[in-house]
Amino acid sequence: MIRLAVGLTERIASASAAADLHDLVQAAIQLEFATIPPYLTAMLSLHPDKNREVWSIIHSVVVDEMLHMSLACNLLNAIGGRPFIASADFVPTYPTALPLGIGDLTVGLAAYSPAVVKSVFMQIEEPEAPLVFAALVQYETIGMFYEALKHKLMELGSAAFMGDPARQVSDTSWFSSSRLFALRTPEDATRAIDLIVRDGEGTSVSPLAPEGTLAHYYRFQQLVEGRRLVADASAPNGFRFAGAPIAYDSAGVWPVRANQSLTGLDPDSLGGRRARQFAYVFSKLMRALQRTFDGEPDQLDAAMGLMFELKLAGQGLVSVADGVDDDGSLVHLGPVFSYVSFNE
């Protein structure tokens, strides 16, 4: 579970105007985004012709995180703020603690393995236990954060939603309107926040997200259990990991270097060139997202096109071997999420 610094919900609760919430919502946008490079790295490390089901499950979570980020940007725009995406400060350098976090969970960029799913991905998406009894609150949860935000926005009312509606992104080419929608009222914000939370965690009584698919935590748990989670009336919570096995071939994973950076790469090597190409396409994506969420919703098309281009650039990268690591095993290049201005 993501444990947040104590005091955030207090700050939200004591906000007296929408502007007081801007930097917190910006931080939430950064948080939603910061989980994507680790998921993407795991996806890219899977051989294209193997482990397709594993890939699909992680991909479905990535798509949701992009959606959550979009909704959070809509929220910030709706309450008169402005998302800042296209900058070197937006994407952390991995390995990193997550934005807003207290630093006890470090996420990095690594090749796929069930161990990574269990120790990192499920930790990111872990729901809080429904009841927490503690004399001293040492952390807050993302659920509490979003809950506090929801209540504050309802309290501030429609006066807080003075942002220009033309800045809202709600294109149905890429997401259905039940998932990506304009935020104009406190009720819209509640709907968006509930979707974000429930997509990740489900509810305290169900593993299902709003549309009937599984919440992220349980989707990932399927990868660890090796079987689909299916409805089962005889099981304790009505569900059991007793569905179809999920094929996983551990040899079908590129041994990508963890937390790859551009430093140290020979610029004349194939890998060096491909790493810089990936960073360039990634940076173009950040800039396209900036425009999309900064008053030009029609740029979403460019952003989606760049996501595919990024995927191709990533595949070209992870297939390149780059020596051996300390224990003598073969290493491949990993994706580099650096913010660059030019293609070099």
């Binding site: 698919t213 194939l270 173009k284 396209a288 595919f308 201005s341």
Partner: protein, 587 residues
């Protein structure tokens, strides 16, 4: 960078899956992008060669998918074009924009083997001439005297741009792979100038025993100032573009090429010496040389063909010359994509000693097939020296089977006679023809069917572009198409100028594209309707699997069925009978 996709270079690949013997870049994504390009020199209005803009970055769009480089067709791979390219110049110290514009699609020309030693694998170089349109000027332009001057003199919201491309790397084991070099120049464009070609004066190639020693040289005489573009003509020693003068290639040649005239007795009279510089010179100038002629020489040059000569132990000898009468003619856009029955207009610019000539005949040969026809075989230039001819297309009748349509060429020129163009003494090469991909006629079915209509089309793309099926999804797979329906509708609905336009090769006829969209748009909601099959396909097991997969997709999208525990797997096909209605009409 030009990560061209190569399976579509071979006609046989249109009907066969990827295999290990495929050409060198079958996973290419067609990306074209500027890497590490900078403003390397200026030639200002007062001849100045220093300016704040030197060192500024030349790049492509900073927030859009990459441009694409594509060929017209496997039967015509000589007109690679760059689509969806935005050109930007930025001051890197501030990040401020100097200018930005859209590169107009144009094919390269004047291809020849420039590079003497080519460990990169490709000795040829080509030349792109085009315009950048809808130019926006940014704040950085204020800090550059040359850019301000360019802004004030260029017309039509355009800039003229020329790119010499060479030094392309085929080898797969280093960072140069699929990259090459570009040296070029950007200058003002003026109304009336062609868009994809320089039609001025041209000194034809310097050829020795069939080998091109220097490519064609375009030049212009303005009063007494003569400007000449060596940028593409000079041979080069390496992939960086280190220029080679003929002096370096032939022991007996003791000078760089010089300008002059060929007298009636064949002697070369020197008019102006030239100096071929080094790589630094090439980068600073783009190979453009500007000299002042003496006024009597200029006067003669205005009405006499010029020539290049070199000094040898036998004195000066001529090595290349303009056409005998100083006439040079060339088509502007010469590559056409025509659906059966569509028309296009070709413009041939004709100049004599650099000036447009009116009422001059331009001849055309009969087209290489009757799928294309020019409106006339003899068209006269208008007052601005342009001959315009309409090209009309007809259904080629699918002569190539799996490959749509046909490539048709029409030769043109100012020599010879109507229907019998003489290519000699023209300054043109064998690729200077009008070329069209004429598409087969196609009637859009009212209700397109997957097996009859969609699969044959998409199977071909799946074969040709394995980058899609390996890294994204299998274009020929029913389930994948249904699952990615929204995405496919989006990419197949783009404007052809959009870098995301699909198919990347822009070789899909409009009616076939409409058919594809009609099918994709009909796939909403009703999975059963989607599964109707017009005729019994060969692989019934495959159809059943497709069916199961489509049902799974249907359930996943409409959700709520997890509770019914009814996620089907292919192995349940035998235990869950298929309702005959679902197969719609199989007898």
């Amino acid at each position: 960078m030009s990560d061209v996709s190569t399976r579509n270079n071979i006609a046989g690949n249109y009907a066969s899956p990827p295999n290990p013997t495929d050409l060198w870049n079958r996973l290419g994504g067609s990306t074209f992008s500027f890497i590490d390009c900078v403003v390397s020199g200026v030639d200002g209005p007062a001849g100045e060669d220093h300016d704040a803009a030197i060192g500024w970055r030349v790049g492509d769009a900073e927030d859009r998918p990459s441009a694409k480089m594509i060929d017209l067709d496997p039967a015509w791979q000589f007109s690679s074009e760059i689509w969806g390219l935005e050109v930007r110049i930025v001051d890197p110290s501030s990040g401020a924009l100097a200018l930005r514009g859209q590169y107009r699609v144009a094919s390269f020309r004047d291809l020849f083997a420039r590079q003497l030693s080519a460990p990169n694998g490709q000795p040829r170089g080509g030349r792109y001439v085009s315009v950048v349109e809808n130019v926006e000027w940014g704040p950085a332009a204020e800090n550059s005297a040359v850019l301000r001057s360019l802004r004030d003199t260029t017309e039509g919201g355009r800039l003229s741009v020329c790119m010499h491309v060479f030094g392309y790397w085929y080898r797969a084991d280093n960072g140069h792979y699929t990259t090459g070099s570009v040296i070029g120049s950007i200058g003002p464009w003026r109304s009336g100038e062609p868009l994809s070609v320089v039609v001025a004066r041209r000194i034809q190639s310097f050829v020795v025993q069939g080998a091109v020693i220097m490519g064609p040289l375009d030049f212009e005489l303005d009063d007494e100032r003569l400007s000449m573009d060596f940028g593409h003509a000079l041979q080069i020693a390496d992939d960086h573009g280190t220029p080679l003068s003929p002096r370096q290639r032939f022991n007996d040649v003791t000078s760089d090429p010089a300008l002059g005239f060929i007298e009636s007795d064949g002697r070369f009279t020197l008019a102006a010496s030239l100096t071929v510089g080094d790589l630094g010179w090439y980068r600073r100038t783009g190979g453009v040389v500007s000299i002042e002629l003496a006024s009597d020489v200029a006067a003669r040059a205005r009405q006499t063909p010029m020539a290049l000569g070199v000094e040898t132990s036998n004195g000066w000898v001529p090595v290349a010359r303009e056409t005998h009468d100083g006439v040079f003619a060339r088509a502007d856009d010469f590559v056409f994509r025509l659906d059966a029955g569509a028309t296009a207009e070709a413009h041939v610019h004709v100049r004599r000693f650099g000036k447009p000539i009116a009422n001059r005949p331009v001849y055309f040969d009969a087209a290489s097939s009757n799928a294309l026809q020019s409106a006339a075989l003899d068209v006269r230039t208008d007052a601005s020296g342009v001959a315009r001819v309409e090209l009309a297309s007809r259904d080629p009748g699918n002569p190539r089977g799996v490959i749509d349509g046909q490539i048709v060429t029409i030769s043109y020129g100012v020599r010879g006679s109507p229907g019998a163009v003489d290519p000699g003494d023209s300054g043109l090469d064998a690729l200077d023809v009008l070329v069209a991909h004429v598409r087969d006629a196609y009637t859009i079915p009212d209700a397109p069917e997957f097996h009859a209509d969609i699969r044959p089309l998409m199977q071909q793309y799946a074969y040709l572009y394995p980058v899609m099926s390996v890294h994204l999804f299998n274009l020929a797979d029913y389930d994948a198409l249904v699952r990615h329906r929204r995405l496919l509708i989006h990419v197949f609905s783009r404007n052809i100028q959009d870098p995301n336009y699909m198919p990347t090769t822009r070789d899909l006829s409009e009616p076939k594209r409409q058919m594809l969209l009609r099918w994709l748009q009909s796939e909403t909601g009703d999975a059963q309707r989607a599964l109707k099959i017009a005729s019994a396909p060969d692989n019934l097991a495959g159809v059943v699997e497709d069916h199961i997969a489509a049902l799974n997709a249907f359930y996943a999208e409409t959700a709520s069925d997890l509770k019914r525990g009814s996620v089907l797997t292919p192995s349940s096909a035998t235990s869950t009978p298929i309702d005959a209605d679902m197969l719609g009409g199989l007898s």
